[in-house]
């Protein structure tokens, strides 16, 4: 067991524990805080995959913006007596069974697929810089189109969110 394998196993346990606590926490604010811990663990996984840019972007976007947004939403939609009951609806046992079957199926199929087994030692490429990604995203021959489309999507989402959450003044009531 090399050092990095131990690090990966510890990190994976932290992520899975935080994810389980996220979906089973009684108070929503606790769920949001466990979610932040899970996101930080995922950022560590990205760093281990030598995608440093994505690790930083994960912390910046998810922890710095989306998690804060979710906490704001939890605070704004909170009522006093809401967090006293079980957080699950009626379907929890059947769903647990089905999700368990899906997970076991995934494990079996991943574990015994020859292509995924054989890649034990990754090569170490020399082009993992941010610069190549940036050049690719702005090159019309490569990936400029997805870049522009996602920017427009973000603009549309921004306008939509502002419009939906805007408080309308009651007319004539």
């Amino acid at each position: 067991m090399t050092g990095i394998q131990i690090l990966f196993i510890v990190n994976a346990l932290v992520i899975i524990f935080s994810a389980v606590m996220t979906v089973t926490a009684r108070h929503m604010i606790h769920a949001a805080l466990w979610f932040v811990l899970a996101l930080l663990g995922v950022a560590v996984v990205y760093a281990m995959l030598e995608a440093g840019f994505f690790a930083v972007v994960q912390v910046l976007i998810y922890v710095g913006a989306i998690a804060i947004l979710i906490i704001f939403a939890v605070m704004l939609t909170r009522r006093a007596l809401e967090d006293q009951e079980k957080p699950f609806n009626r379907a929890s046992l059947v769903t647990l069974l089905i999700v368990g079957i899906v997970f076991v199926g995934l494990i079996l199929s991943i574990r015994f697929w020859p292509l995924l087994q054989s890649t034990t030692v990754p090569l170490s490429p020399d082009q993992l810089t941010v610069g190549t990604l940036g050049l690719a995203l702005t090159d019309p021959q490569q990936f400029a189109l997805p870049f522009e489309v996602t920017s427009i999507l973000l603009l549309a989402a921004m306008i939509g969110a502002i419009y939906i959450a805007h408080e309308r003044k009651e007319k004539g009531k």
């Binding site: 805080l33 930083v56 710095g64 804060i68 704001f72 605070m75």
Partner: protein, 407 residues
């Protein structure tokens, strides 16, 4: 490398040979040296904060025409240690109903988020924590972690005013991140990389001359990110009873306090690194240790400017602050990035004097246009400073039958 010219790498090299001589493996030596370096930087930063607090109180006193602390030690330099002793011995009060983990984690996370920025700053040509190619993004990302700490503090206190204060604080911090990040595109454009080492190495001429408008916007947003005056309604005593750190006492409050001052100094260092040239200066090729001195000097000048603004200008209201951000700074930063990109790329490489002149002219035009627009807007929507005229209360104006009204 000799000891005089480059002390810190010499010491690191000596320690490395010592540890390998004792039989440790290569990677373990690296880990030990990293941990040692991180510990030294953290402790050094904390000790430096004590001097910063003293300097701030003295200079603040002079700005306000008084002396500042002058009892404890010559010129009061031990005042901070006296305050530290007092804060260490205060009792931790845990109010009823607090959530233990967020309540206790918030001050720690607050200080940790500020100290993490020190790991990517290059102190001289050869002394830096780590050379990551996305160093600039790391600085902003750990700023986001600091905001998380404020939310934890506000929520964990089980106190409506703490929650309200935390929300206002986070709203301010998130809003001012937007022009901060947009304006950081300009040094990245000029130096071609997001790593701080590359940005400093590309500043033969400091970027403040290339892009003064970006510099001013970054400075204002840094002050707002810290929560310093004039943006300090986060801790406005007269409005919100100390904001998100109401329920904290003792060393936990001390940690928030330290994080505040250290964040101001860290913002000054980041500003110096990105816009003023960091460790660049005459003679750093032969003696790299001079780089550290230049950095310190420039940072202290920027910090002094931050203090000068803090003790001079009155506080913003929250709607004025939000209007300043969304109506002035964000469009200005977007247009600045556009204009700088167009001007910079339309001048072929190498005509550096012509490039500087063109960029300065472009920035000047931008500044004048923005100024005209703001003035025209203010003329159309004047702000009423006094209320409508009301009759003054005079004894002869009491209503009829009001002889015994004061009983």
């Amino acid at each position: 490398m000799s000891f005089i010219q480059d002390p810190i790498p010499w010491v690191i090299h000596w320690l490395e040979t010592l540890l390998i001589g004792w039989g440790l493996s290569e990677s373990l030596t690296q880990v030990v040296l990293f941990v040692l370096g991180a510990g030294l930087i953290s402790v050094g930063a904390m000790f430096f904060t004590t001097m910063l607090i003293w300097a701030e109180r003295k200079i603040g006193g002079r700005f306000q025409d008084r002396l500042g602390p002058n009892r404890v030690g010559p010129w009061g330099i031990f005042q901070t240690f006296a305050d530290m002793l007092k804060i260490f011995t205060k009792e931790y009060i845990n109010p009823v109903g607090v959530d233990k983990v967020p309540f206790n984690l918030a001050p720690v996370l607050s200080v940790a988020a500020v100290l993490a920025i020190w790991s990517v700053i290059p102190f001289s040509q050869t002394v830096f924590g780590t050379d990551i190619s996305v160093g600039l993004l790391i600085i902003i990302a750990v700023g986001g972690l600091g905001e998380m700490a404020i939310i934890l503090a506000g929520f964990g206190s089980n106190n409506k005013y703490a929650l309200l204060g935390a929300f206002r604080a986070v709203a301010q911090l998130i809003s001012y991140e937007v022009p901060l990040v947009i304006v950081l595109l300009i040094p990245v454009m000029f130096s071609g990389s997001m790593g701080l080492n590359d940005i400093v190495a590309a500043q033969k001429i400091p970027f403040i001359i290339y892009a003064p408008v970006a510099c001013v916007i970054f400075f204002i947003c840094s002050i707002a990110e810290n929560g310093r005056a004039p943006f300090d309604l986060i801790e406005a005593d007269s409005e919100l009873v100390a904001g998100y750190n109401i329920e904290y006492s003792g060393l936990k409050f001390g940690m928030f306090f330290v994080a505040d001052f250290l964040h101001a100094f860290t913002s000054a260092i980041v500003f110096t690194t990105i816009f003023l040239g960091g460790w660049q200066g005459p003679g750093v090729e032969e003696m790299p240790v001079l780089g550290g001195f230049y950095l310190l000097l420039k940072t202290l000048v920027v910090y002094f400017m931050m203090l000068a603004i803090r003790f001079t200008v009155p506080r913003f209201r929250i709607d004025q602050m939000m209007a300043l951000n969304w109506k002035v700074l964000t469009p200005l930063s977007l247009v600045a990035v556009l204009v700088t990109a167009v001007v910079d790329k339309s001048i072929p490489q190498g005509n550096s004097l012509f490039r500087i002149a063109a960029l300065l002219v472009a920035n000047l035009i931008l500044w004048l246009v923005a100024d005209r627009m703001i003035t025209a807007f203010r003329k159309r929507h004047p702000v009423q400073v006094v209320s409508n005229k009301r009759p003054l209360a005079r004894p002869e104006r009491l209503p009829a039958g009001g002889e015994g009204i004061s009983q």
